[in-house]
Symmetry: C2
Amino acid sequence: MKIIVDGFGGDNAPLAVLQGCELAVKEYGVEIVVTGDQETLKKTAQENGISLEHISFHHAPSVITMEDEPTSILKEKADCSMAAAFQLVKDGKGDAFVSAGNTGAILVGATFLLKRIKGVKRAALASVIPTATGCYLLMDCGANVECRPEILTQFGVMGSLYMKKVMKTANPKVGLINIGSEETKGGELQIAALAQMKEAPINFTGNVEARELPKGAVDVAVADGFTGNIVLKLTEGMGSLMSTKLKELFGGAVGKLAGALVLSKIKALKKSMDYTEYGGAPLLGIAQPVIKAHGSSNPKAFKNAIRQARDFAQSGMIEELGNTVSSMKKPENGN
Amino acid sequence: MKIIVDGFGGDNAPLAVLQGCELAVKEYGVEIVVTGDQETLKKTAQENGISLEHISFHHAPSVITMEDEPTSILKEKADCSMAAAFQLVKDGKGDAFVSAGNTGAILVGATFLLKRIKGVKRAALASVIPTATGCYLLMDCGANVECRPEILTQFGVMGSLYMKKVMKTANPKVGLINIGSEETKGGELQIAALAQMKEAPINFTGNVEARELPKGAVDVAVADGFTGNIVLKLTEGMGSLMSTKLKELFGGAVGKLAGALVLSKIKALKKSMDYTEYGGAPLLGIAQPVIKAHGSSNPKAFKNAIRQARDFAQSGMIEELGNTVSSMKKPENGN
């Protein structure tokens, strides 16, 4: 198993990337190719005592930044570390792609260099979100702001397969994010999507209200990219508020004493709400495994993103998704 | 100041309603008329030792339930406690309306019995949401699933006036809920609304990401009713997850000891996140003050909803909103 990692993606690159690769090699026994400016990578590894066992470099002279136009990955930044990583996966020199870089550029690069699976209308960015009881897959998280009903249905199929094959969830429950549980709720998009999703080859449990998501009511929550992005970011924002409030609670001398008494529980709570435990966001619908790590990923987050890329590549999900999509009846208004 | 309260709205009616009214009379010195079946109201007050000083009853024989069609308030349930409350306010027998009943019926009753302010295109349900630093007004919370840009602009104007006149926030910051801060972010609705809101007579601070809402980034957050409802319910769901996690943290013998050490802080935290502290959801754009209390309101929540109704009625906001709306330039594609 060989994972291709963009060495210059994310706020903490290339140091956190290399540290994450080192951890992943040790823990998962994978081979890794890191793309980017070879001299800088070598120097960073050397200066920080990072072992390069099972890690090799592939030179790419430039970097695509958060300010660059996503499409520049195909043009003036075609020699960047992210483009090089896509090219290696495309050429069969690696089994999966990982980057914490510009999300738009990852979408463009994946769609134009690796291509979508035949029959998939749109690739979707999926995030694994912690809940009270485990986690759920939220999609789309922002790749497709406006969607048609048949696209939401495909998201449900892709998310269900991902949870089953990669996350090993038996018979994943798929819900459509909506503003009520009744069939008449929502806008035209939700009403039409609900009818289609009932016919899809998934364990569809109907509309799910946003209030139920943190409880773990579903394993896959489907929405257009606008709604999904709101859910993702509000979940992050509320999580961060929760951390702040906990810090306040256990501040001061007495607070610290109280905190010491329940330290193991606080640690368990933090771990259960920690997005970095789940790795990154898989881009589903692309012909090869693509993982978008969080922009602010630390070494542990990179390590987990590499594990997720390995699991994705090993799962056989992409082949099964291709078969499922091609066997599905086309909706009458589809294209 | 006379507040008209629907005696049979909400899960805990009529007992919690009457207890809330008793508290409100004591604390705020208001006069209250409670609508509903007079015998049941009298009996409930008597059996529970509720003082009826400054509280009178107005008989209405039927009740509109959560299962009833909202429009039934105009037809077969025209004799319900909620309809009677609207009629009293309409006839000038009271200054404001409070109910914890069927939200759809409140929208229908308010729009058809009390009417919208001249020039207001749609009434919006607004919720006061606690944040790290105080609270913000979220609107629309679900009354208008699909909106046009000029409707969002009016929501911004209404919300801004409410925060200024009723909540006494100086120069309230108004943001448009969107999936990024840049002007090109979002769907057609958000892009067009952003341009219009810049020209509106409000302190408009541009797009606001959902991640920033719990931090208190804005005083008024504007969205279509679908998006607003998702934000409202996810905030509730995450708040409830937070409560569950806190209970786990302070469970068991050692946990209880830790909890005792920081008890005052836990109480303050709970209070700061408690929606009942802020009363109910004002329905903005209606020609008279309407407050929708939460369906599960307890006596304290009813008391605070009555305070909010009083503040709303005293604020002069409705007159000012009428003047502001009529002075605003009509957008070219408006109607």
